[in-house]
């Protein structure tokens, strides 16, 4: 189980980093999402992997660590909200600029003005 989980996290992170380095906003956002999936799984595994165990101390032992589950829940909510925000901003940028490239032109720089 450890090898499977580690491979999954590794592949998800690799896909995320590759996509985040792309030039267009949509692949970049997909990449950030993949990265957040990888980190959620990783966070989950930080409480050790246990099968068929309730997150309750005592009987039956072993028990599952409940804290990483709460942390993952927080991280999921935050990354969900962030993805929504960046999506709206990407659409706004696409509509106002007419293209969805993520890099800035020399013309763009400091010319935001008022």
């Amino acid at each position: 189980m450890e090898a499977l989980l580690a491979t999954t996290i590794g592949v998800l992170a690799a896909v995320g980093i590759y996509l985040a380095l792309r030039q267009r906003t949509f692949p970049v956002i997909l990449g950030l999402t993949f990265l957040s999936y990888a980190v959620n799984l990783f966070l989950f595994s930080s409480g050790r992997l246990t099968l068929n165990a309730a997150p309750i101390i005592g009987e039956p032992s072993p028990y599952a660590d409940p804290l990483p589950q709460a942390l993952v829940l927080t991280a999921i909510v935050i990354s969900f909200g962030m993805t929504a925000v960046v999506m709206i901003m990407a659409i706004g940028g696409y509509l106002s600029a007419g293209h969805d490239r993520i890099d800035l032109d020399a013309r763009d720089d400091g010319e935001a003005g008022q």
Binding site: L43, G93, D108
Partner: protein, 501 residues
């Protein structure tokens, strides 16, 4: 338990939500509520500072759950100083936003500002590493909204870069926290300080990885080379008043580094040792050099201010990286100074940008109401470059004094980069204010005298002057705080670990 400790987090959160729901579209009421809240925050911050100075560190247990099972907020002198700095800068920024009409260009300026204050104050006050992540996200999501306030193609697209960069940083932060929890089984910072020295030999490599990842996250926040690329584009394209407010956001990175370097990974911890210092110090020296060269080569005034901000972060991180009480005291003084000076520079850049046809330095352009703004620019430039008589000079002097042992390298970089910055500021000033404009060009519509905006900029410069005049007492107080930060026994005792849920 002192309930005021949570006020800097809860008050802006409640007021921000109230503004969004009840004061939608009523700008005058939003302005009054926002200003009143920030004035109240200033009072609370000063009271907390006085309390922390007399009572020492104190914990606030959320829901009265004992540490390390529940989340704690920790008030000590270091966090109280940072919250005071934050609320003072917020007051000036709010006044400038009202005076310049920036808050009229979008619906939710004041509400977003409240949420930004909540996030930054929470990041300063929290005593829990995961909670620090949550407050980072709160301040970031508010800053995304403020960054693209007013809209426009260039600003929105610079905003996307900023968001993408910070989302990657957040993922890195979560990886680091998961490693830390996997190794130690706790995320309470005082508890970490107790548990890390007793870690088995086999886990120390994981701990070093964690420390490096955390430093990378704080370096992204603090714009440390090689992770500074987001800053010039973001700050130069953000509204001027927002960029000024963001000057305290980079300091969150420096504060978190200081907190982790003194409490969680102190230099006498066997697993990490001088790892933090070895990583941060070279990066800080390069950051300072990059910032200074950027000031010299900037093509527009907002970019010049952004690079001055990078240089100031280089100096601040340099002082932080030594992790001794003397250098930390110098770092705190420089952080106070550079936050106010960078903010002043951004406000002046905004004053210029709204009175000149464009902000490019190379092409002369006509400008309305030059005299007073040129004087303000000169004062802000003197402060940012670290020339006497303003506090930048004293700040750099304190840092130079603290680095006597490494004088050949550190002194050379600080002095040469200060010289480059003086050249850059002088060049930009003469291009902006002295070069005659082509006769056929017409200046943009005069936005008027804007007394409130000018007064806000003057207030920042006056606070720099006050920091200079009272440098002695301020430095004594900061030295006490730095000693307390480097001797975290009372901080750990205040967290009252070892309770049962």
């Amino acid at each position: 338990m002192n309930h005021w400790i949570i006020a800097p987090v809860v008050l802006p959160a409640l007021v921000g939500a109230f503004m969004v729901i009840a004061l939608r579209g009523q700008l005058a009421l939003q302005r009054i509520t926002g200003l009143a809240t920030i004035v109240a925050l200033n009072g609370i911050a000063l009271a907390l500072l006085a309390y922390a100075a007399t009572h020492g560190p104190e914990a606030y247990f959320l829901g009265d759950w004992p540490a390390p099972f529940g989340i704690v907020l920790m008030l000590d002198e270091l966090s109280a100083i940072m919250v005071t700095l934050l609320s003072a800068l917020a007051l000036v920024s709010a006044l400038y936003a009202i005076g310049s009409g920036w808050d009229r260009k979008g619906a939710h300026f004041h509400a977003l500002m409240m949420f930004l204050l909540m996030g930054i104050a929470g990041a300063f006050l929290t005593g829990d590493a995961f909670n620090l992540f949550v407050f980072f996200e709160v301040l970031l999501i508010a800053s995304y909204g403020l960054m693209i306030h007013g809209g426009g193609s260039a600003r929105t697209r610079a905003g996307i870069q900023y968001v993408a960069f910070n989302l990657i940083g957040s993922s890195l932060f979560l990886f680091a926290l998961a490693l830390l929890y996997g190794v130690t089984g706790t995320l309470n910072m005082a508890d970490l300080a107790l548990k890390l020295p007793t870690l088995p030999e086999g886990d120390q490599a994981l701990l070093r990885t964690t420390a490096v990842m955390l430093i990378l996250v704080f370096a992204i926040k603090g714009a440390l080379v090689p992770l500074q690329f987001w800053l010039p584009g973001t700050y130069a394209n953000a509204p001027g008043v927002v960029a000024a407010l963001f000057a305290v956001m980079t300091k969150v990175g420096a504060y978190a580094t200081l907190r982790f370097g003194t409490l969680v990974f102190p230099t006498d911890l066997a697993a990490t040792g001088p790892l933090l210092q070895d990583l941060i110090q070279p990066a800080a020296l390069v950051t300072l050099a990059v910032g200074a060269v950027g000031v010299l080569g900037a093509t527009t005034l907002p970019r010049l201010a952004a690079f001055a901000g990078i240089a100031s972060m280089g100096t601040a991180f340099l002082a932080v990286s030594a992790f001794t009480p003397q250098t930390t005291a110098a770092a705190l003084y420089y952080i106070l100074h550079s936050t106010l000076a960078t903010a002043a520079l951004f406000l002046v850049a905004d004053l210029v940008a709204r009175r000149r046809a464009h902000v490019r330095l190379a092409d002369p352009a006509p400008m309305t109401r030059t005299g007073l703004i040129a004087a303000l620019y000169m004062a802000a430039a003197i402060a940012s470059a670290g020339m006497p008589p303003l506090s930048g000079f004293i700040g750099k002097l304190l840092i130079l004094d603290a680095f006597r042992a490494q004088a050949p390298l550190v002194w050379t970089v600080i002095l040469v980069s200060s010289f480059l910055m003086i050249l850059g500021f002088a060049r930009a000033g003469s291009q902006l204010f002295w070069k005659p404009a082509p006769p056929e060009a017409t200046p943009p519509a005069d936005p008027g005298p804007e007394p409130l905006a000018i007064a806000a900029t003057l207030a920042l410069l006056a606070s720099l002057a006050a920091l200079t005049v009272f440098a002695g007492p301020v430095n004594d107080a900061l030295t006490t705080s730095a000693r307390a930060a480097h001797n975290p026994d009372s901080y750990i005792a205040a967290a009252r670990l070892g309770g049962t849920p």
